[in-house]
């Protein structure tokens, strides 16, 4: 069964009277439990594709199915629920809420669902990510690698169908980046589907399946 199905997806941006096709008629699937990398040069449309799959941006044409639900034809409120429950995001700039502690950032998706916090699950995730001693810290008190691990913990707390990682190693030094990449691979080994956008071939090559995007067109390299 496929977790993600992308069908004839296009996105056109209007820029000062010109139209730019960031994603052009893209079709592919991601099976449950798969880890897929998307690579390409800057401005090739990697992040736009990820945002379309995550329902952050709206498609000009085509469909994206997450666990069978077409998110391109879903109302904003329902889309927010899907983002909360089915998709976990990891961004290059971490995207943490500066006024919340590590623990609060992690449980934010639960708060938005008005769900109780499962302490055991929280402890398991934070131990797995090595954050158990950082729970009361604010993001401003953490290193880049720690911030990214908090973002991963937040992405995992609601048991999503897929983790969308947009250049998760982009703001980190090599050692930290390797560690984060190892974490994503470990998560995948535990059965979590991962879509990784990166411009670093080294990390793309670690994934069993690699997609290359050029001027909005996608091709399968492996």
């Amino acid at each position: 069964m496929n977790t993600v199905e992308v069908r004839n997806l296009s996105k056109v941006f209007a820029q000062g009277g010109y139209k730019v096709k960031a994603v052009d008629n893209v079709t592919f699937d991601i099976a449950k439990g798969e880890i897929v990398s998307v690579t390409g040069q800057s401005g090739s449309g990697k992040t736009t594709l990820l945002n379309l799959i995550g329902g952050i941006e709206t498609a000009t044409e085509g469909s994206v199915y997450i666990d069978g639900t077409d998110i391109c034809r879903t109302a904003e409120k329902e889309l927010a629920r899907l983002r909360r429950q089915k998709i976990g995001y990891v961004f290059q700039d971490f995207n943490l809420i500066p006024i919340l502690t590590v623990e609060e950032n992690i449980i934010m998706p639960l708060l938005l669902d008005s769900k109780r916090v499962d302490r055991e699950e929280l402890d398991r995730i934070t131990r797995f990510l090595g954050l158990e001693n950082r729970l009361t810290h604010l993001p401003s008190q953490l290193s880049g690698g720690q911030k990214q691990r908090v973002a991963i913990a937040r992405a995992l707390i609601n048991h999503p169908s897929i983790i969308l990682a947009d250049e998760p190693t982009g703001n980190l030094d090599r050692a930290m980046a390797d560690e984060i990449m190892r974490l994503l691979l470990d998560l995948n080994r535990e059965g979590i589907t991962v879509l990784l956008v990166t411009h670093e071939e080294r990390y793309a090559d670690m994934c069993p399946r690699k997609l290359v995007i050029t001027d909005g067109h996608i091709s399968e390299s492996r």
């Binding site: 945002n51 995550g54 952050i56 941006e57 904003e76 409120k77 889309l79 927010a80 629920r81 899907l82 983002r83 909360r84 429950q85 998709i87 995001y89 961004f91 995207n95 943490l96 809420i97 500066p98 006024i99 919340l100 502690t101 609060e104 449980i107 934010m108 998706p109 639960l110 708060l111 938005l112 669902d113 008005s114 769900k115 109780r116 916090v117 009361t136 604010l138 993001p139 401003s140 937040r154």
Partner: protein, 562 residues
Amino acid sequence: MRYLLYLKRSFRRQPKRHLTLYIILTCAFILPLLISVYRDSSAYGERQQALDMTKGAAFHIENASGEDAELFEGIDGMSAPRYEDGVIYLRFLSDEDWRDAGTVERCGELIMERIEQSGRTYLLPTAYSFDYAIESDTGDEQTVLLLLNIFIIVLSSFVVGSAYKSHLRRFSSDMGVLRSCGAENRQINGIFLTEFAVVFALSSASALILSAGVMKLLFASFLEVRDDGFAWLIFRMDPVNTALHIAVFFVVLLAVISFTLFKFGREPMANAARNDLQSSEMTKKPGKLRIKASPERSLLALWLRRTNKTHRSCLWVAVPVMTVFLFLFAYLSLDAGWVSRLPEYELTVSKNGALGGFTQEETASVERLEQVREIRASGEAQNPQSDGIYEIDIRLTSPELHEEAAALLKQLFPGAEYEIVDSQARAERGREMSTGIYFMLLFIFAAMLGFMLIIVYMKLCDYIEDSRKTIKALSTVGASNGVIRGSYIRQSLVSAGLAAALPAAGSIALFLLAANTAAQKPSVSASLICAYFAVSAVTACAFILPVCRSIRPILERKESIL
């Protein structure tokens, strides 16, 4: 030159922000200027009234005839007596003599001696001191107004300073960049202080023109008083006084802004360039995050605990400003109502007590006037030794006849020993003035409201702008637009409720206290209730609208923020 170049670019790059500052400064300066104009006008009116009353003469001898003037000729150091309308005027030849209390006392004794020796005891001398007649000593009211003005200037300087701080924060990344390029703090401060000086010059000139224009118009139409029985009020704008106000405002503001710049200069360069405002405000350990029944409520609780500083500072601006305005409105309404209250007895005629009271024939002649409905004689109680009546209150058949009846009474009682007070004319004048007072209040309200609204608007828009990062993160973890918008609007509603309720409660308490102190009965009118509701509604809107307006584009253009 480089300052001017930066200013030119800065003004062009963010014209709205500079315009906002200009309006804030202009509005902040209007109230002190209005009080200053009122103070100058009151002092000038008082002085003109004293001059009109004393006619520049130290001694007035009333109840006199032309023949009595020769009695006061040849007094050493004094002018020849001048007779006019039953009064003899005596002036000192030199101001030094008049200033000297001993000389005035000696001359007064000499005048009394001459009156007694001549047996013309019907003559009534009055002495006026030089201070009263010429120098017009500033009274308590003037001092109170001056102190009030200084207080308003200092208070509004801090409020403007806080708005200026928000303005400077928007440029903190510029400051960081300039510092990283090697600019010294002195140079950076110079840029922003020059900018302040330019905006201050423009706004103080605008406030000056606005205040002077509006007050001149109000004085010409309603407020100028040159009537007997009232304290005179004549439009006057003392340039020295006005310049002093501008200087005080400039110096206090300069101090506040310099201090802010000094603090910015001490911030680490990375902080200034990063401009991460919300996390920099998180100085103490945050309270526990609670998960509530709905996400809006959970987020609301979070905002109230963690990011309510801006709302609190907005309340610090809105609550005192609106409390002062509502109190002023309520108290001046009471005062205007009291001044313009129609009298029970439209006219009063009184007779100098030293000459004995009214005769029965005189009283009867008043009663016989066809405009008179009834009279009330008074005066015995104040002077139990005399069996005379010193004061007659007259109720007319119709209040419109007061001028006609006053003219007839003047014919009946032409001497200087009689005084006729037209209370109906006073009440009518009071009504006319109260219209002017309401217009003045309206102008003050517009300025204060403008001041408050713009500051609150600017701060709350900046607050939402500073929350962009949080909104972005919330959106990506699955908060719907409705939940995000709802939580921020609920936060504003809490502040709006406080901003609407606290000024009303505070001003009512102050009003009751003031009415009690002035021994006046507080009354509630429909216009007062309407004013309270209108001000509360406008204040509440001031907290809700900026949040609604500034959050919409962030949520609608989600793509651009992510």
